[in-house]
């Protein structure tokens, strides 16, 4: 008897263990299919609103579809050969106008409150300007004078299925936005060319980046970690390829990161004074060309007929050094070519020299290089 009881007991425990394992796995899978709870107080409030309205819709659905399915089942011609003749009732109409209205008010109240909190627009402890470009993000830390671009690092071979895809396929960048936990971080979001949208689901922030406007959003992240997001406004051909990665760290780690960034910027400025050879500039320019220019002008410099002009064999790139610098610095009015003046002097010189030395341009043209000093000169003359 005890044996049996034991056996039942064991079964019970096993059953509970299995059921628990199953349900936790199911709920984990469900979480992966649902809106994220996120990493901030606001994002949890948004999640709660989402679930509230979801369950209200489910309840209404069960009720309404319940009546409908019952009617479809119970009032078929077979079961009910003669239909009833009623066809109006003012009382019922008033009831099902007013009741939904009340439900809506019940939903509008918490939603309006959360929205108000989200719209708090006071300056943050840290203010970061976010600028959308085709197809990358620029981040400028306004207090600390730190400035960098974030590009997708996923390899083209992964995208074109030549090698297996990595775990963070299309969600990885070369420079993460680093922010400290527990501080109010405010993002000032704008764009340089077309409209983009800066979305980090874990913060419940989605703000359009619009040329000529500065939109703001703020967050206080509680836990250190990596938070991934994406551009969510169609911005041209590489819209699907400009992710966002935010790294939240403790304050001291953040401070040392800022210091490191500032030191790197100073080192870069010193390089401007150096005398550069064509080979050095080309070597540096190739990588810059890949991240900044390839999307339009293509790896082989041929561009795309009718939209993006070819650089290989271009008269300006081969022979007109002054105009070449001007286009890169100022952009072309009314065309997709933007100003790249945010590049440092060394970067600018390297990337121009790379295009002037590649694809046979040096052999067919004057073969002149552009040195960082030329860029400094250009900037001086402009003033």
């Amino acid at each position: 008897m005890t044996n049996v009881r034991n056996l039942i007991c064991t079964f019970k425990t096993q059953f509970i263990v299995i059921a628990f394992a199953l349900s936790s796995q199911l709920s984990a899978e469900w979480d992966a299919l649902n809106m994220t709870k996120g990493a901030t107080e606001i994002s949890r409030e948004v999640y709660d609103l989402h679930m509230l309205i979801f369950w209200i819709c489910v309840a209404i659905g069960v009720l309404v579809f319940g009546v409908m399915f019952y009617s479809m089942y119970a009032y078929t011609k077979k079961k009910n050969p003669v239909a009833a003749t009623f066809h109006e009732s003012t009382k019922v109409e008033i009831a099902w106008t007013i009741i939904p209205f009340l439900i809506l008010i019940a939903m509008a109240v918490p939603a309006s409150k959360t929205l108000q909190t989200m719209y708090n627009d006071e300056a943050g402890d840290i203010n970061i300007q976010v600028v959308g470009y085709q197809w990358k993000w620029q981040y400028r830390y306004l207090e600390d004078d730190v400035n960098f671009f974030a590009n997708l690092t996923t390899d083209l071979d992964e995208i074109y299925n030549k090698v297996p895809k990595g775990e963070n396929y299309l969600q990885e960048v070369d420079e993460m936005v680093v922010i400290p936990v527990g501080k109010k971080v405010r993002f000032l979001i704008t764009a340089n060319d077309v409209i983009h949208s800066w979305w980090v689901p874990a913060f419940a922030i989605k703000q359009d980046a619009i040329p000529g406007f500065i939109n703001t959003a703020w967050t206080i992240v509680e836990e250190p970690g990596l938070y991934r997001g994406k551009c969510t406004e169609l911005c041209g051909k590489n819209h699907g390829f400009m992710p966002i990665v935010v790294k939240a760290v403790e304050q001291d780690e953040y401070d040392s990161w800022i210091a490191e960034k500032q030191a790197a910027a100073i080192a870069m400025a010193e390089l401007t004074e150096k005398d550069w050879t064509a080979e050095e500039l080309v070597a540096r320019g190739e990588a810059l060309y890949t991240t900044n220019c390839v999307a339009c002008h293509q790896v082989n410099g041929q561009g795309i007929t009718g939209i993006f002009p070819a650089l290989a064999g271009s008269g300006i790139v081969m022979n007109d050094k002054a105009r070449n610098i001007e286009i890169l610095m100022e952009g072309v009015q009314g065309a997709a070519m933007n100003s790249f003046s945010y590049l440092s002097e060394v970067e600018m010189a390297s990337v121009i020299t790379y295009t002037r030395q590649s694809w046979g341009n040096a052999q067919n043209g004057d073969g002149e290089i552009v040195a960082p000093k030329d860029i400094v000169e250009y900037k001086k003359n402009k003033i």
Binding site: N34, M35, T36, E45, V46, I53, F54, V67, M68, S71, M72, T76, N80, P81, A83, A84, T85, H87, E88, V92, E93, W96, P100, M107, A108, A111, S112, L115, Y119, E158, Y160, N161, K165, N168, Y169, Q171, D193, V194, I195, S197, W199, P201, A204, K206, I210, P211, G212, F213, N215, T216, K230, T232, L234, K237, H239, G240, T305, G306, I307, A336
Partner: protein, 528 residues
């Protein structure tokens, strides 16, 4: 004098359609023009559908396999434009042409020559739009919403042709709407007061007013784009002192009523079908009319709910959230009325009724997700993700398109004189029903999990459900080719339809012969 008129009348009675192709080019007959519209929209539906297949095939797996991102963007743009302006809208205009005169006891549309013109400019509009695929730089690639400055400064050269094409479509819609309004206002049979009109006629009267109100706004938007591109203005160019957000306000002031333009006639159709197959008078006729009117009026004050993330002030966000939520009230009333009509009815489930029932359930699902999207803070998470794609496809595919299919099955016996094959019709319904849900239901999850819309490639966590969605899309796509087969089969022959066709059908169109003669109601019927 009276003898002359008499004579003229007689001549008309014997006047049949012209022979051969001329019949279709020169016709001023509302039934012929209705047929032209319906076939044209079917062709566009298949072309737009083929583009959807390309989109879904590319999204079958992560990575780029079939097309390049540039071409992908052209596909999503043309898919949207063709389905909206070429598929759904002309289909409803075709139904209006066929049905409105027959439902109100009029001999034809009020302005038959303009009717011919408003149809025949449409093929040219779409020829221009589709030809942009073969132009240098490719077709428009900025989404059917064509937000500036992506659609101006950064657009391919073919954008100018796109603008021209939209102008032609707009002209066609406006002419069609004027025709509908003039017909309904002036040509109702004696005794048919406004509140006695069939609901499909009511729904089209309201739709036509919406079209006349917003099509010029769209024309204005594309004209400003044209000026920005070619004549040096800066309406939408921030660098020139313009405002890219202005474009969105103008676009959605057109775009939101446009959404209701695509669903109000569906409300009318479904009301008739549910009433017929429940064999019970529609519940709450007058509240149905008022609900449609409220929806139409509200549609002018909710446009910015498409723009919650552009950075509007708090007051504007709150206003547009509340006004949007308010739309749920009249929409709810309509759903409740349909169900109350079925309640205690005597229901059979022929193909039109199956489509109508699916419409009520799935359109309501789309309404639920719409209500969720109205909640601004939550919209920050939903906006521009696949959740939105799921939402509007639920209201447009099992909403608008199911209603069009239901209408075809419901009235085709009257149009052709032949019954369609009920077994095949039901099979088509079930294939479509399963296909549509397998395609779009998982997209809710993909969107909530964080996949943006309008991307040709995606992160690995979205792979499984995208695969399911693509499988559903191909099922749905192929079942529409099957639909084409069923329609052709019915046109070619089939069981002779009676004049009444459906036991529970009400309305003047069922009092004429099947197939409906070339000219009906030359003498107006009396409506009691």
């Amino acid at each position: 004098m009276s003898a002359v008129i008499e004579n003229h009348h007689n001549e008309h009675d014997h006047h049949g359609p012209a022979k051969g192709l001329k019949r279709w080019f020169y016709t001023t007959n509302h039934k012929d023009i209705g047929t032209l519209y319906l076939w044209f929209s079917f062709a566009m539906f298949l072309i737009g559908g083929a583009m959807a297949m390309i989109i879904r095939a590319e999204l079958f797996q992560p990575g780029m396999q079939i097309v390049e991102p540039e071409f992908y963007n052209q596909m999503i743009t043309l898919h949207g434009l063709i389905m909206i302006f070429g598929g759904v809208m002309p289909a409803f205009v075709g139904l209006a042409n066929w049905l409105v005169p027959m439902m109100i006891g009029a001999p034809d549309m009020a302005l038959p020559r303009m009717n011919n013109l408003s149809f025949w400019i449409l093929p040219f509009a779409f020829f221009v739009l589709l030809s942009s695929l073969f132009m240098e730089g490719g077709a428009p690639n900025f989404g059917w919403t064509f937000y500036a400055p992506l659609s101006t400064t950064y657009a391919p050269p073919s954008t100018t042709f796109f603008i021209f094409s939209v102008h032609i479509m707009g002209a066609s819609s406006i002419m069609g709407s004027i025709n509908v309004i003039v017909t309904i206002m002036n040509m109702r049979a004696p005794g048919m007061g406004l509140m006695k009109m069939p609901l499909f006629v009511w729904s089209w009267l309201i739709t036509a007013y919406l079209l006349i109100a917003v099509m010029p706004v769209l024309a204005g938007a594309v004209t400003m784009m044209l000026m920005d591109i070619h004549f040096g203005t800066s309406f939408f160019n921030a660098a020139g002192g313009g405002d890219p957000v202005l474009f969105q306000h103008i676009f959605w002031f057109f775009g939101h009523p446009e959404v209701y333009i695509m669903i109000l006639p569906a409300f009318g159709i479904v009301s008739h079908i549910i009433e017929t197959f429940s064999r019970k008078q529609l519940f709450g006729y007058s509240s149905m009319v008022w609900a449609m009117l409220s929806i139409a009026i509200l549609s002018f004050v909710v446009w910015a709910h498409h723009m919650f993330t552009v950075g509007m002030p708090l007051a504007a966000e709150l206003f547009f959230m509340w006004s949007t939520m308010l739309i749920a009230v009249p929409t709810g009333v309509k759903v409740f009325n349909w169900i109350a009509t079925m309640f205690k009815g005597s229901i059979t489930f022929e193909t039109p009724m199956l489509f109508a029932c699916a419409f009520v359930v799935l359109f309501t699902l789309g309404g639920f997700s719409g209500l969720m999207l109205a909640i601004t803070p939550a919209d920050f998470q939903y906006h521009d993700t696949y959740f939105v794609v799921a939402h509007f496809h639920y209201v447009l595919v099992p909403g608008a398109i199911f209603s069009i299919m239901a209408a075809v099955y419901y009235w085709i016996p009257k149009w052709t004189g032949n019954m369609y094959d009920e077994r095949l019709g039901r099979l088509h319904f079930w294939l479509s029903f399963i296909g549509v849900n397998v395609t779009f239901f998982p997209q809710h999850f993909i969107g909530l999990a964080g996949m943006p819309r309008r991307v040709p490639d995606y992160a690995l966590q979205f792979a499984d459900w995208n695969m399911v969605s693509t499988a559903g899309a191909f099922l749905f796509g192929f079942s529409q080719v099957f639909f084409l087969f069923i329609v052709i089969k019915t046109v070619m022959g089939g069981k002779q339809a009676t004049d009444q066709v459906w036991e529970g059908a009400r309305g003047l169109e069922w009092t004429v012969d099947s197939p409906a003669p070339y000219h009906t109601f030359s003498i107006p019927p009396k409506v009691s």
